[in-house]
Amino acid sequence: MDQLGLLMEGFAGALTPMNLLWVVVGCLLGTAVGVLPGLGSSMAVALLLPMTFALDPTAAFILFAGVYFGGLFGDSTMAILLNTPGQASAIASTFEGHKMANSGRAPQALATAAIGAFIGGMIASVLVVFLSPTLVAVSASFGPPEYFALALFAFVATSSVVADNIAKGLAALVIGVAITMVGIDGISGLERYTLGAPQLFDGISLVTVTVGILALGEVLFVASRIRGTREDLRIRAAGRPFLSAAEVKEAAPAWARGTLIGLPFGVVPAGGAEVPTFLAYEAERRLDRRRKHPVFGKGAIRGLAAPEAAGNATTGMAMGALLALGLPISATAAIMLAAFRQYGLQPGPLLFERSPELVWALLASFFLAMVVLLIINLPFAQLWSKLLLIPKPQLYGGITLFCGLGIYATSGAVFDLLMLLGVGVLGFLMRRYEYPLAPLMIGMVLGPLAESSLRDALLSSVGDPRVLVSSPITIVIYALLAVVVALAVRAAVRQRTREDL
């Protein structure tokens, strides 16, 4: 097998002592940040983004992979132990997971989550390895109309599916795309919306926006709510972190079903792992109702196993989609895309041709990260929860310091620090008034692609809009988009009628 050979070479590249060290460091860092209350994996990646410039690209991305997956593990650890999910994708794990922890089965819950995440991530990574040539072949036939259709799909899907309020989601999207309008227009070479400031000729840096929205905005928001929040965080007693054979047998089908549900969402640009985790949870709950003795609501192991597997399956597949198509499906994947661009690399079909050693080493490091995470999470999950003992003032002081460091390190200019503060305030306002952040990130990342592909397509057809639906691929994408919008509208209408009752 061609892919196996390439993957083996990738392992050879990833298994150097230095790169192995980066995997472990990434996993530890990611878990640590994920475990801290309120801090999710996307914040971990955002804070780390500016730090990786001192590394070579392969090491940097291996570190990222570790942090990303580690953050997911940490998120669910906290979701189970303290009912505080660090990221929306861990919310589904709190329902049954926290109940398990409350009924004295915390170690079993953590083990269920860790194994589920491991299975989902592993299967997804295997699929990515074998599917990536197909994805690359498909995306090689993409022209401007197809890319515009994909970007539009990502825009609408993230704003309508993830957001409770479609208007708020679209507003966040418009702001995100508007930010990318600043700077020199790539097609005409004209300078737009810079107010004549030379610092803005290259546009507003994605790194600044990422750190501002995801990290500094979060710090400001937590600061505004710090008084009156509960401090009674309890850490539950440790115990045997292993599952009995009966428990494994109980959880196994849920792990499998969760993985199956999660996989397809990795290539659909609909906001990441949030939707599949809820779907997996919902599916298990419905299956449970048909059993003789329903156990949901009392800490059902299946209700935890399925969303965990689904979440990591989606994340793993999303990495494949990012590498092969250059299409980020979630905020965190968007940050990874930004990181690739910082190194002058453009994910997509050409990346596999131009830098195969990087791609395959990165894919190999996914497997390594999964194994490392299983090792550091299964026995030591209880230890991680000790991180909660760091007092909040000092913790957030340190985070703010790192925000400043990260931005100053990338630009070396005070102007960017002020910009960071402005974006941080925007991030605070969006959190305060419950505007979703993911559409803004997606808009910021895909805005330039959407604009250039739209204009290229229209220029080549001399302004005839029919070019946008001229190929079968575009028609399929728009049809899918119509389905997604119809489902979102139906869900919104249902929710409204339920509220009225």
Partner: protein
Amino acid sequence: MDTTPSTPAPAPQATQSPAEASPRPARGGRSGLVMPLLLAAISVFLLVGAATLDAVGTEFPGPRFLPVILAVVGLVLAAILAVGAIRHPEPSVDPTTGAARPRTDLVALAWVGGGFLAFALLLTYLGWILAGALLFWCTSHGFGSRRPGFDVLLGLFLASAVYLIFGTGLGLVLPTGFLGMLGGGA
């Protein structure tokens, strides 16, 4: 410059229309209008920029094409959101739990945001270590720390550690400030 935190505060009183005698306490408020206003401002900025852009000689979907679409969509959304914010002011009590909704702590915000502003403006003069320690201290103070001396020491320690690891070890250029000038530029 937008000195951050004060924005949400004045809105509730200012926009409380006298005609509508709301049974809810004023605190529940209309500060939710901040986001629609911001969106409208961005849209207007896009329109003005498109109008003043000298795009002679560019073919049809030129540099003004997408900004104008965005601005129109943005204005429509701003109107929808503004109507939503006026018709459904934030309840002061959480409907699901019945607990009072957490208030926005403007003092804490001012400490964190102001601390960051001071850090940004003073960085080149104070140098990384002192400015970083200042940022750390302001933030932790805003978060309610009552151990100022400990925070100063911890901030200095953290900033110095960062300077050693990233500045000296990984080769990032961090400003030395007046200390560096005293020492003849390290």
